[in-house]
């Protein structure tokens, strides 16, 4: 069984640590959500796992140290969806999803029948068939998010990293996108690591939360364990009411400062 293990992961920009000594272990099918205020190091940690920034420490997947893999090998293990993906306006959806097969195609090679099949299956599975020939520029925000997720899944990597996957979506599309990820991680046994600002959604969909503050993991555990008024006050500097629903859902409601009408 593949486990994603982070050991003492540290990221520095210009000599200044933005992620320090992060340790985590995730089992296949598990979803860890990174939370924390802006600048806490969430994106940097995701980028370190994806090998997009230099980092120290160790990231292992199933006993293999990811830092020793070539970029092509790494992309077969880790798929990364950035906060603001670049979607060329005139590129058709099917061509865009096919980009996800790049780690499986040699530099001078062409797509194989299997590559085409994987993409066709994904497009069907994610209900994108009607958009397959449409240029990306004609899609709505929700459709674009599905397409980006489809491209990441086309890599057939056991680890899926999502940086603010719902930041540009309305409430309905946020829910659809996260439901999709949740369904896919179960059906494909994916390890999902996401960075999210919406604490209620983060708690609702992920198995565990890791609260980062100034690059350091300051709280970890289930939503019930991490999302506490005093914790949010200390690290976000906000006053928030945390409601524990009977079904286990944790709802975070920001409160206005006292004295204001």
């Amino acid at each position: 069984m593949n486990h994603l293990t982070l050991r003492n992961v540290r990221v520095e920009y210009g000599g200044c640590a933005v992620v320090s000594n992060v340790d985590e272990t995730l089992a296949a099918g598990e979803w860890l959500c990174l939370i924390g205020p802006n600048g806490a190091g969430k994106s940097s940690l995701l980028r370190a796992i994806a090998g997009l920034v230099e980092s120290s420490g160790e990231v292992q997947l199933g006993g293999h140290i990811l830092g020793t893999l070539s970029s092509r090998q790494l992309a077969r293990q880790v798929a990364f969806v950035p906060q603001e993906p670049v979607l060329p306006d005139d590129m058709p959806v099917s061509d865009y999803v096919m980009l996800g097969r790049n780690p499986h195609i040699s530099t001078f090679g062409r797509e194989s029948a299997r590559d085409r099949q994987v993409v066709a299956d994904l497009i069907g599975e994610l209900s994108l068939s009607v958009y397959a020939r449409r240029p990306l520029g004609t899609l709505s925000g929700g459709e674009r998010q599905r397409v980006v997720i489809a491209r990441a899944l086309a890599q057939e990597a056991p680890v899926l990293l999502l940086d603010e996957p719902t930041s540009a979506l309305d409430l309905g599309h946020q829910q659809h996108a996260l439901e999709l990820v949740d369904q896919l991680r179960h059906s494909r046994n994916l390890i999902v690591v996401s960075a999210m600002h919406d604490l209620t959604l983060a708690g609702l969909y992920s198995d565990r939360l890791l609260l980062l503050h100034q690059g350091v993991g300051v709280a970890r555990g289930t939503a019930r364990e991490v999302l506490r008024s005093e914790t949010l006050a200390e690290f976000y500097g906000v006053s928030a009411r945390v409601i524990h629903e009977d079904d286990g859902t944790v709802v975070v409601v920001p409160q206005r400062s006292s004295g204001e009408s």
Partner: protein, 347 residues
């Protein structure tokens, strides 16, 4: 399911090939002297194995077609194909449609090299087996790009495509300044240098074709082999890296290959502007932005465009010639504005 089925792409390939052949035939047939234009295709057929027809073309006329016009047409095709392919490749790896093949200082370096060659006593070099002007232009172009690359990647962690482009601007300015200085000190060669800068295919020979063909072939094959990964780079460096690409390596190889071919083209043709920008743009307008198809079709379209652009230059102001750079810029500038307008309308 996949956009633009192979059949559609195949049609573009065929159309591109036919365009080059048709325009090439026109290039062979049209000129201020020589046989009547319609006799030239007959003469070509007459030269095929096992075929004999009376084309009415004399040996002297055939010599003019084969020794003067044919190398000129072939060289125009090679140079046009190379500049367009290099332009499309640069635009792909820098994700900037306004980048041209002269971006990293090739033109300025080649211009400086040619100027120095002209400024050195031309009589003394007239007996050389190899014309020193294209050689000096080639060396100047390669040195300028090497300098650009060295400067552009010398700043540790801040190295990026933008740094490289800015280094290209700096090297271009430097080479232009030195060229101006050399010209000021050698007023007698201003006309020759100016003529070279405007582009020339007038004196093209089969020797020129043989000189540049290996460089252009190596460059073109390399660039075409990279066209799929250049397409992956359309999603930006970070995402391309996340998709398993060694972005820096691909960019370096593509830039070097494009520069090698461009330097060779510039060495024999002078500085022919606009081809590297407008041809890829026109191709994108017709068939979309996928570099997998834009690169090869730009090559065909560039070849056809430059052969066609060379024809009015030799006919309109006969017996003198209009430099091809003037023709491409004359048609290229309005066409470029037209494309920008089209893009605006589309968006």
């Amino acid at each position: 399911m996949f956009a633009r089925p192979r059949g559609g792409r195949g049609a573009w390939w065929v159309l591109g090939g036919i365009s080059v052949v048709v325009v090439g035939l026109l290039g062979l047939a049209l000129g201020p002297a020589g046989p009547t234009w319609w006799r030239v295709p007959l003469a070509l057929i007459d030269r095929l194995p096992l075929v004999s027809i009376d084309s009415g073309v004399t040996d002297a006329q055939w010599n003019l077609v084969w020794q003067i016009r044919a190398p000129r047409v072939v060289l125009a095709a090679l140079v046009g194909a190379m500049l367009s392919l290099a332009g499309a490749s640069y635009q792909g790896v820098f994700r900037n449609p306004l980048v041209d093949p002269y971006l990293l200082g090739v033109a300025a370096g080649a211009g400086l090299g040619a100027t120095v060659a002209f400024a050195v006593n031309r009589e003394a070099t007239s007996t050389w087996t190899i014309d020193p002007v294209p050689l000096a232009a080639f060396i100047g172009g390669v040195i300028a790009v090497a300098l650009t690359y060295t400067i552009g990647t010398a700043f540790g962690r801040s190295r990026s495509a933008t740094t490289l482009v800015l280094a290209g601007v700096a090297v271009t300015s430097l080479a232009t300044a030195v060229q101006t200085f050399v010209l000021q000190r050698n007023n007698d060669v201003v006309r020759q240098v100016y003529s070279w800068i405007l582009g020339r295919l007038t004196s093209a020979t089969w020797g020129d074709v043989r000189l540049v063909l290996p460089y252009i072939a190596i460059s073109a094959v390399t660039l075409l082999m990279f066209r799929r990964v250049i397409d992956v780079m359309r999603v930006g460096d970070d995402e391309a890296k996340a998709l398993g690409m060694n972005v820096n390596l691909v960019r370096i190889v593509v830039v070097l290959a494009a520069t090698l071919g461009t330097s060779a083209a510039v060495a024999v043709s002078g500085l022919i502007g606009f081809v590297g920008i407008i041809v890829p743009h026109a191709v994108r307008l017709m068939i979309g932005s996928s570099n997998r198809i834009v690169l090869p079709l730009s090559m065909f379209a560039g070849a056809a465009f430059l052969i066609a652009a060379d024809i009015p230059g030799r006919i309109l102001t006969s017996p003198s010639e209009t430099p091809i750079g003037v023709v491409t810029a004359f048609f290229g500038a309005p066409f470029f504005l037209f494309l920008l307008r089209m893009r605006e309308v589309r968006s």
